[in-house]
Assembly symmetry: C2
Homo-oligomer: 145 residues x 2
Amino acid sequence: MQGKIAVKDFTNARGYPIGEMSRRTGVNIETIRYYERIGIMPEPDRTAGGNRQYDHDQLKRLSFVRRSRELGFSLEEIRALLEMVDRDDFTCGEVHALTTGHLASVRQRIATLRKLEKALAGMAAECSKGDVPDCPIVDMLFDAP
Amino acid sequence: MQGKIAVKDFTNARGYPIGEMSRRTGVNIETIRYYERIGIMPEPDRTAGGNRQYDHDQLKRLSFVRRSRELGFSLEEIRALLEMVDRDDFTCGEVHALTTGHLASVRQRIATLRKLEKALAGMAAECSKGDVPDCPIVDMLFDAP
DNA sequence: CTTGCATCTGTAGTCACTACAGATCGTAGC
DNA sequence: GCTACGATCTGTAGTGACTACAGATGCAAG
């Protein structure tokens, strides 16, 4: 049925090497090893020579971590989520609580940045931008109350 | 004219010790020493015994740093601002450019966080919050494309 | 068997602090 | 002058979430 295959096919074989994990998830190789060191990812199998070999579950786990990071969850939050999942007795309510807690902190950060934005925009607007050495921005930074 | 004074008065005397600098600017003592180490603050005078003694200019400089940090400027940006000021030939235009550059990065961060906020709020809304072990949030994190 | 890329370990750097430990300074009260 | 006691000193290490090496192997194609 199948002749020689041109590209490598890891799907049913001896597992993915770390570079393939990186390519599939977009997580840097160094970062994958870092996740292992801090216990976010488990220690994978090794080849006879000592190279890491991951299975499909580990690929899914790493994708989970990646997506959670993209949503701004801290590694500690992700660790908590994974512990729930690993325990296999988490409830939807627990996950919801963690998510809304994180959502609140995101909203808080937005509020802080919006204040900054206003202050900076106000300062920039007062500035003549000219070739002169007298600058209201510098004055405000030095002499504000 | 003046008798004994009850509280310490550093305003015209031998300079402020580091604790007084900290109290007046709100910058942590360890942080002040850190700023000195990385060259944001100059090396101050010392007492005979070796304790730091700051003058009024240094107090103003530290306030400048503090306010700039509050506006979200990085220490590298602040270093650039201070170098301009120290050179004493900066122009308003230069300062304006640095400020608007920073403003752009603040706006970028706000945009990123708003996307996160939307995604998180959407996920949280779909969640039943119940006592059940089947959670759409976890499913999305595991199985999203 | 060689070439050459992939992967290995271990360590140090990033940013902006913060937190010690253990020693010394400075000053108020006696 | 002596003693307490808080303030300050130096130097190092920790934080979070990676990233960047150096120098040594592994692995697969030709």
